[in-house]
Symmetry: C2
Subunit: 339 residues, 2 copies
Amino acid sequence: MSEDRRLEVLRAIVEDYVHTREPVGSRVLVERHGLKVSPATIRNDMAALEEGGYITQPHTSAGRIPTDKGYRLFVDRLSGIKPLSPAERRAIQAFLDEAVDLDDVVDRSVRLLAQLTHQVAVVQYPSLRRSALRHLEMVPLSATRLLIVIITETGRVEQRMLEVADGIPEHVLGELRARLNATVAGRCLADLTEPLDQVAKAFAVGDQEFVTQVVRAVEDTLAETTEERIVMAGTANLARAGTDFAHSIRPVLEALEEQVVLLRLLTEMAEDSAGVTVRIGHENQHIGLAETSIVATSYGADGQSVARIGSLGPTRMDYAGTIASVRAVARYLSRILAG
Amino acid sequence: MSEDRRLEVLRAIVEDYVHTREPVGSRVLVERHGLKVSPATIRNDMAALEEGGYITQPHTSAGRIPTDKGYRLFVDRLSGIKPLSPAERRAIQAFLDEAVDLDDVVDRSVRLLAQLTHQVAVVQYPSLRRSALRHLEMVPLSATRLLIVIITETGRVEQRMLEVADGIPEHVLGELRARLNATVAGRCLADLTEPLDQVAKAFAVGDQEFVTQVVRAVEDTLAETTEERIVMAGTANLARAGTDFAHSIRPVLEALEEQVVLLRLLTEMAEDSAGVTVRIGHENQHIGLAETSIVATSYGADGQSVARIGSLGPTRMDYAGTIASVRAVARYLSRILAG
DNA sequence: CATTAGCACTCAGACCGGCCGAGTGCCATC
DNA sequence: GATGGCACTCGGCCGGTCTGAGTGCTAATG
C-alpha cells in the first residue's frame, strides 16, 4: 500500500469532489483518473485515508468526501499552481489601470476578485497604521475648531475634527505644521510615536498643551478608526445554483456582516505567513464560517504590507485557482498603489 | 356582497399570510378574524377579489395569497399605522445618540433599521448636492498640488486633489478662501453655480484661470462622486428560516450589489412622494427584485431632504411595522444631523 | 505483502399507489 | 345577498418496493 498512491487518491477525491459536488466512489475514481489499479485497491486506500481522518462518507452507501483535514493536506502538499492565462492577466491590469482614485482602485479590485473566483471577495482598506504619510495639514475652522487632514502615500485622505476648548493659538500653527510635516513625511505610525513626542517638546511651555492635543489627535486617527474598513463583493455567489452549504447561507452572511470577525481572521492570517494563506472550515474558529475557506494575502506598495485581500467561499472550492487569482490581484493592486 | 367586507377580507388575507406564510382559506379566515359571516360568503368575496387580481391561489386546492396588486391596495387603503412602543423609541434615540461622527451615525442607523425590521436596511449617504456647506479649505501640498477640503453642515468631509499645471499662485489663496467661504456658507450646490461663477470674475484676469479650476473642482466634487454611496445591513435576513423567496435569494443579492439599481430606485421613490413610499414587487421594475418590496423615505437636517433611508424585504412583509420603523429611524436620524 | 476478484450487505433515493383533508366552485335555499 | 350542502380537485403524506451505487470482508493470486 504505497504512501504515494494514497496521497494521489486523496488528490483525486478532492479534485473530483470540487468538480462534481458529489461524493466520489472507488470506481469512478480509477476510471476518471486513469489509475492503474483496481477499485478494490482504491477502497483499501480510502479506508486508510478515512482512518487518518482525511475523508469521510456522508452515508454508509455513498462515496467519500474530503474533510477539513483532507483539504488541508491537499492545499499544503498536493495542490499545484494554476497560473492565470496571459489574457486574464492583461484583463486584470487593464481593469485596475482605469481606476481614478484609491476608492476606485479598492472597489475595482474587490469586484474583480469576486468575478475571478466566483466567490466572496474581501479587501481591507490600506491600513493607516502601516501606511507611510505624505502630508499633514491643519485648518482652523473657527476659534476653537481645528480640522486635521492626513494624507498617506497610498493616496488615502483622513480627517478629524479637534475641539480646542482654550482656543487655537494661531501663531503656533505655521511652525507646528512645518515641524510635523518634517517629522512625518515618508514614515508610518509605528515609527512615529517617539518622534512626535519630540515635536511637542520643541514648543514654548504655554503652547505645549495645544500641540500635545494635536499630536494626540493625529495618533488617534492613525491608530484607531480606520484599520477597520472592509469592502466586500460577490456575496451573491454564496447563493450559487448548486447550493453549496449544508444548511443555509444565513450564518455565513451574518459572519460577513460582522466586519470585526473578518478583520480578526485577516489579521491572524497575516501573522501566519507573508505569502498567500489559507484557512479551511473549522480553522476559522467561527461557527458561521465552519463550512467556508478563506484564501488571503497581503498587499501594499513597495513590498511592505499595508492591508489584506482575500477570497471566501465554501470549503469545496478550487483552491489552486483561487490562490492564483488572489495572488495576482494582490500583486497588481500593490503595483498600482506604488505607482 | 358589500364592498366593505370584501376589503376587510383582503386585509385579513394579507395579515394572515404575512403572519403564517401559508395560503389562507375561507374557514380559518372567519375563525381567526371573527367575521360574522360563513365561509361560503367569504369564498364569494374571494372569488371577486381574485377576479379583480388582488389575490391568487398557488394551487387549485390551496388557499389564497395576495398578489402585488393586493399588497398595493392593502398598503394604500387598508394598513393602519403600528406605532412604536415608547421603549423602542427610547432605544432608538439612545442608540443613535451614542454615535461619534457622521460615519458612525449612518452605520448605526442602518444596523438599527435592519434589526427593527428584520430585513435589509439601506441608507444613502447624505448627498453633497443637497447638503448645506459649512466650510471650504484649500491646502497647497506642493508647488502644483492643491488639496481642496469641503465640509458640510451634516458633518461630512470630502476632499479632492487638484493638479495645477501652471503652479499655484500662493498670493491668491487667502482672498480666494475668504471669498469662497463667504459665498458658500450655509448654501448647497443647487444654489451655488451662479454665485460661484461670480467669485471667479472678482479676480485679476491673470489669476482667473486658476480660480476657475478650483471652482470647477469644487463643483465636480459636490455633484459627481458621492451621491452614489450606499450603506447596507441585514442581508442575512434574506436567508431567514422560512425561506421567503420562491427560488433563490441570489438574484436579490445580485441586485443589492448593483448599487446603481438601488440608487435609481431610491431616487425614483423620492420623486413619488415626500413621505414614506412603498414599492411592491414588480413595481421595482427589476427582475431580481420582483419578489421584494422597498419601504423608503427621505431624511435630512432641517426638514430638507438630503438623502434616503429604506428597508427591503420580501413582498410578504409587515408593511405597517416596517413603515413605522423606517419613519422613526429617519426622523431621529434627521434630528441628530440637525443637532 | 500488496493487489485483486468475488460476494454479501447496506442504504439513500426514486418510484408508486392510495389516502386524506383542505379548500374550492356551484347550486339550491333562506 | 348570505348560507348550507355537496361534489370535485389536487398537493402532500405515508408506507412499501426496487434499484444501484458503493462499501467491507475474505480468499485467491502474483
